[in-house]
Amino acid sequence: MLRVEGLHKSFEDFKAVSDAHLTVEAGQMVAVIGPNGAGKTTLFNLITGQLKPDRGRIIFNNEDIGRLPPYEICRRGIARSFQIANIFPRLTVFRNVQVSVLSQQRKSIRMFRPARTMAVEETRNILEKVGLTDKGDTIAGALAHGDQRILEIAIALGNNPQLLVLDEPTAGMSAEETGATMALIRRLADEQGLTVLFCEHDMELVFNVAQSIMVMHQGMTILQAGPEIVHNSRQVQECYLGGA
């Protein structure tokens, strides 16, 4: 479904991503791991178009999306969440998700019908799925951090994506919230046949949840394989899991 080939991205002289490779098959949950600064977030930003690659190709459903702007990439079926809660702070929770659903339905530009009658069912369904129904009328900026992270995922779901890219979905969460969020993501993947690409620092979670793991170090892909193989790889042990 998604294939990243020989991707490069530098900022000034710093090579954030150099020679990254990644394959995501439909229906899989794929994790990207690596120490801080390994280039995980840069890689995700390249895939969803926030950054443009210097070199390399990003193939999604047989199309090179490497040069497309973020909104075009989103329309092709990739939705994402950000590492730092990235929501619409002055809008209600309901409206946060609704705007996304309206965009997916290509209705963002409609002017002469009240928005309150549109995309309501879809929005409610999503809020129910992630468990934010009773907070629908809350101003998003006033939500607790954990709920903002969940809302972040709900906004991405509003795009009804094929591939969900989650940049550290549990960053800043308590252990308890982390477990619940991963369970939610897993459930969503199962129920909707979503393909999920994510990165995460909790190794136990990663090895539990992911069917395929890509290991990055200093912007380079070291290997991508199933959890067993990654866990036993000497190369990975050396540069990453070494201390653990």
């Binding site: 909104y71 309206l102 997916q104 963002s108």
Partner: protein
């Protein structure tokens, strides 16, 4: 859930105000009718600006340029051509929107402050044309004694014309505000990066918003001609644009109706304090300082907050 756009209270209130205003001309002195008409014109201008500033989050620093283009287009067509008068009045908004589109295309490529700076520069070019091209625009004298159709040339006629158009425009602006487009615009203001990531073409959205806003600014410009019967380059001067910007802040730029109050306050200040002292801007300055400290959400924003917490969100869903 109500299917309409207005809840009954808002609609009733708006209708009551409209009817009350319609009965004013016979009972008020002509001067006050004139001031009210000026407030209507300025309120429409401020409302159109707030659509891109308060709701769209754009640094539209030179909105007066489009107001001026609307006014000059109408003024020039009424004085220099023998076309029917209504054509001049209709051409104003379209000319403003066209200029808005041309300037907007360049501006939306930049973000925030750079957007604002570029707009001031490009807008000032238009000001320079109006100011310098004597043979066409009359230069710094402007154009005076613009012939108007008899129906709207009296002060009462102008008053009703402005009132009706203001009401229609506010209705349309409200429709847009409550539509998916309006909702998306608010989302872009809050977080353009996130909007891109949910499949919204942010620049195109902003450009459309600018074209709509400048169209309404053009209508306000035409109304100015109707009320004053003249145009002059000050309309396009950037200092005036700043004044309109302040109206939005003063009234409450995150609200829908706030700029109307901002415009009313500014026009009243200029008219009534301005007759006593040249330094009315001093009072404005003090008001702004107080505003920043005590009413950061603006006058109307403050009132809405006081009216009850359930009114805090403009786009609240009624279930």
């Amino acid at each position: 859930m109500s299917k309409g756009i207005f809840n009954l209270k808002t609609f009733g209130l708006a209708a009551a105000i409209l009817i009350a205003l319609a009965f004013l001309p016979p009972v008020l002195p002509r001067f006050y009718i004139y001031i009210l008409a000026v407030i209507f014109v300025t309120a429409l201008l401020a409302m159109s600006l707030n659509m891109v500033v308060g709701h769209g989050g754009l640094f539209q620093f030179h909105h007066g340029a489009f107001y001026g283009v609307g006014a000059y287009t109408a003024g020039l067509m009424l004085t220099k051509t023998s076309l029917p008068a209504w054509m001049g009045l209709v051409a104003g908004p379209f000319a403003a929107a066209l200029v808005g589109l041309l300037i907007g295309v360049f501006c939306v490529r930049l973000t925030r402050l750079y957007f604002g700076m570029l707009q001031i520069s490009l807008g000032s070019l238009i000001w320079a044309i109006a100011f310098r091209w004597y043979s066409l625009t009359g230069g710094d004298d402007g154009i005076h004694g613009i012939p108007l159709p008899s129906l709207i040339s009296s002060s009462t006629g102008a008053y009703y014309f402005c009132l009706i158009l203001l009401a229609v425009c506010l209705f349309v602006l409200y429709l847009i505000f409550k539509s998916p487009f309006g909702a998306t615009l608010l989302a872009i203001r809050d977080n353009p990066e996130r909007c891109e990531a949910i499949g919204i073409n942010v620049r195109r959205h902003q450009l459309i918003a600018i074209v709509i806003a400048t169209f309404f600014a053009g209508i306000a410009g035409v109304l100015f001609v109707v009320v004053e019967g003249s145009v002059f380059p000050d309309l396009l001067f950037w200092v005036f644009s700043l004044e309109v910007f302040i109206m939005c802040l003063l009234g409450g730029w995150f609200t829908f109706a706030g700029p109307i109050f901002g415009a009313a306050i500014m026009v009243s200040l200029r008219t009534f304090v301005g007759t006593y002292t040249e330094y009315w801007t001093l009072i404005l300055g003090i008001m702004l300082i107080l505003l920043i400290f005590f009413l950061p959400e603006g006058v109307w924003g403050y009132l809405l907050e006081k009216l009850g917490p359930q009114k805090r969100d403009l786009h609240k869903e009624t279930k």
